[in-house]
Symmetry: C2
């Protein structure tokens, strides 16, 4: 009975989100800031990868980050160690960021002073896929400890992302992670998708990851 | 503008779910079947733990499982190796199971022939928390490779669960997982919560896990 009503309301919410996301995207383009969002399941290593990334890019780029979580300011505190501006978005019980949350978080930031803005979404492989945040690039993380079948089970998030990053690759052997199967599964749901293997612990793959962000000449 | 409407519709959906869940719970009690649901983020090890559990319990109990995923029948195929009846619920784009999906999946099963029914939810630490499935016991899994801060960041799911299981404990050292901090964080969000550490790989902790299900005298 209530299913058609839900679908209708959901469509309206998504349409509203798309309008806000479009405004955001235009704002980002006018300001000349490149925006990269990161999605993954909880604990796949978004914050750790982002901390390394902000530290490396912060040396000669004007970088900032927004970070979403249901609760705690932990991630913002961790990311602030990189020395770049960071703001936490606390969503309460909402399982994803939406464009209006991003717009609100940016109200007192001057985007003209930034080259790059990272947006770390709430840890969730389902809900964030439907919400455009006005980003230029969406990155989906899959950790070696999660198992190689995740692209097949969460195809939508892989389909809406531009780059897949396999994190915690240093744990691949201990976790008996089948790298070939993981790559094969990613290509099965999103043929031609760029895949990068990284370890934030050993820094393996970090240069390739940074290069893939379209930021050239980073030391 | 649309926020109050969404809240209202969401409340109606949850109320509707609670009604179906109550009917399910009464049905389970009449049939004398104990129902245990399992929630976690993607790749935390729900299916692997469940496969071991079904194999052990299936020796002298009448056990079955329902398993939820957005896509694929992979988990049902894996779980069927345990030799017990298993049915896959494929949710499409829905980020959680609800009571009516469970009711529909059970239509052609005779619950009187079962002692235990396991329900593996979609991999998600947010959305499943709001949906009662009529279960007797809700178990939340946290893998050692996800990090010890997850209870603080996803407090609702820990608050609505009865038991926390820390999985992949064999990887704790490799992942530099701080066990004390994890236990401390769980108790911070849910004082007195029962916590069990297991490894489906080495079978460490498996007896304690089985015992915690309230099923005595299992070989």
């Amino acid at each position: 009975m209530s299913r058609p009503r839900i679908v209708e309301v959901r469509e309206r919410v998504l349409k509203q989100n798309d309008l806000v996301a479009r405004e955001l995207r235009e704002r980002f383009q006018r300001a000349g800031v490149r925006v990269i969002s990161i999605v993954s399941s909880p604990g796949a290593g978004k914050t750790t990868l982002l901390e390394s990334t902000l530290t490396i890019l912060g040396r000669d780029r004007r970088v900032a980050a927004l970070v979403g979580d249901l609760a705690t300011e932990n991630d913002a505190m961790r990311l602030k160690r990189s020395g770049v501006p960071v703001k936490q978005i606390t969503t309460g019980t909402v399982c994803h960021l939406d464009a209006s949350m991003v717009a609100t978080a940016l109200t007192d930031w001057n985007l003209e002073t930034l080259d790059l803005l990272f947006i770390e979404n709430v840890g969730n492989l389902v809900c964030p896929s439907s919400y455009d945040l006005g980003e230029d690039l969406r990155v989906v993380l899959l950790s070696a400890t999660e198992g190689e079948d995740k692209p097949l089970k969460y195809p939508t998030i892989f389909n809406t992302a531009d780059i897949a990053v396999i994190t915690k690759i240093d744990l691949a052997a201990a976790a008996e992670f089948d790298r070939d199967a993981a790559h094969c599964n990613i290509q099965a749901v999103r043929p031609g998708m760029r895949v990068i293997e990284v370890s934030s612990k050993t820094q393996e793959g970090m240069n390739r990851w940074i290069a893939s962000l379209g930021v050239l000449c980073v030391r």
